[in-house]
Amino acid sequence: MTPFTRHTGRAVPLDRANVDTDQIIPKEFCVRVERSGFGRFLFAHWRREPGFVLDLPQHRGASILVAGDNFGCGSSREHAVWTIQDAGFRAVIAPSFGDIFRNNCHKTGVLPVVLPAAEALMRTVAGVPATEVTVDLERQVVEVPDGRWHFEIDAFVKDCLLNGWDDIGLTLRDERAIADYEARVPTALGAPVEARESGQGDPR
């Protein structure tokens, strides 16, 4: 995972609520077996609208996305996070996020910042697109030249992101505990019994 410590860049204000992962990366672009190369499909349908905020010249090169409430709701496709990352964004700031999307960000190294004041920040960067925004994970603050907001983040997630820890490597250190659990609680799916199908029509 890419570590996240502190990032400064310009932000693009996407003033829409409930931006779902189908908007972030429409399904027709998910038919791929790779993890990279999704960036150019970010908001592919919305980009067909003239004047879509991401394509305005004053927001070119932005590396922080500021959005409305419930960002990333919907499908679990991690492609959404890969797409945002591949398009050059390091952080997404919104009042709240879809739970699975936020988790996926944590595993990928894109920082999802839950900021109740996202709307104020949105106004700032919409008014002055050149505003430099700093997201500091260590201190848990978002800063602009004339404003500063604290944000909350799970302490464990913060540690993982700051260090770029490999989640799997971390869990494999608990090998003993996992093996103990397996010995204590044997789990098996068993062999299926294939019966003739009948009545209710289900495979039994």
């Binding site: 038919v31 077996v33 709701c73 679990s76 464990f156 799997i168 019994v193």
Partner: protein, 463 residues
Amino acid sequence: MSDNIGRTVFDKVWDAHVVRSTPGEPDLLYVDLHLLHEATSPQAFESLRLAGRRLRRPDLTVATADHTTPTVGGVERADPLSRRMLELLQTNCGDASVRVFPLGHRHQGIVHVIGPELGLTQPGRLIVCGDSHTSTHGALGAMAFGIGTSEVEHVMATQCIRQNRPRRMAVTVEGDLPPGVTAKDVALGLIRQVGVKGGQGHAVEYRGSTIRALSMEGRLTLCNMTIEWGARMGMVAPDDTTFAFLAGRPFAPRGDAWEAAVARWRALASDEGAVYDAEVALDAARLEPFVTWGTTPGQVLPVSGMVPEPAAAEDERALRYMGLHPGERIQDVHVDRVFIGSCTNARLEDLRAAAAVARGRRVHPGVTALVVPGSASVKRAAEREGLDRVLVEAGFEWRNAGCSMCLGMNADSLGAGERCASTSNRNFEGRQGAGGRTHLVSPAMAAGAAVAGHFVDVREWAR
């Protein structure tokens, strides 16, 4: 853990799966069943391989082809990219010794339909899958939630998942559902009440007399839609309906093991006096068949209603996208396409409901209507009952199992501006095809719209 006060079904299943619990860290939980499909697993298999790691428990992993499968013909009908995904699923599963149900297999189908119907989904199990609608399996009293591809890889390597314990929410639905009102309408009515982010951070338990009276199919529909209001999991405590549904299924326990399992499962019900962090109540008698008018499942109205005045910028945008006007009666809105399918509403009961409306009627000449059974097994069962004949005679297309037009990763999708009555779960912009307009409804309502060419209150047809 809370030993002295009553525990909920969620607490009981969670506590039973804790591998390691450390203050200040998420719990490490053991996964009983990991379900895979072709759309979110290839990158996980690849990363695992690159890291030199192996699947810890291929025997607890089951895969099926569903997201990109063609619904006419076999894999040769898939476009080259989809075909690569489908073939890679088989290769990856073969290499890793994972049981897989590819296209053409008698058990193939939508992952959330085949889990329960094969008896893989059982009360008390912790089930994950790289798909947000994994919440479906909670209908049997399992703890089931969707995960991303990085977590899929994590489960492959460790058979564990790291999770912060969500807060508990009870959704209590009391009373008899009025005739013509289904589990889908309970879900849509609930989202209308709590909003599309009402469940964020919560594990939901559905309870009350309405839930007890629901069939297993209905419970699956309701739990399926849990993610649509932001909660990752929805559970129904197992009861006699659950046990009757599971008995005799291929992976269900048999003989003495069955008796022991039922005794264990009964004890999973929430204790008297169990405490929830949030509670929501819904009155079944006040529910109607619902139709969504906008681009989130929360933008929904009763079939007797009119398209509302916009209350926010999102509403204005949704109205524009959907080509609707405030004050328009939803029953005056015409449809071009009808989709009966998806992990929400493509089980046998759903197809029966659609066929009951279609019987002796004809699909409107201006409408193309698709029926896509949730699994190969549902398809065979429906055919044994003659539902396919009823639907085909009425002018519906009868297809092979898969996710199909719920998300249109295969060839089944809407064209720009096309309006669809759909039994699926998401009416997001472009979900069923770029520029497509989706209205979520129950199977009977979808069949009614197919026949009339516009939305109708199917309750009036039953009288």
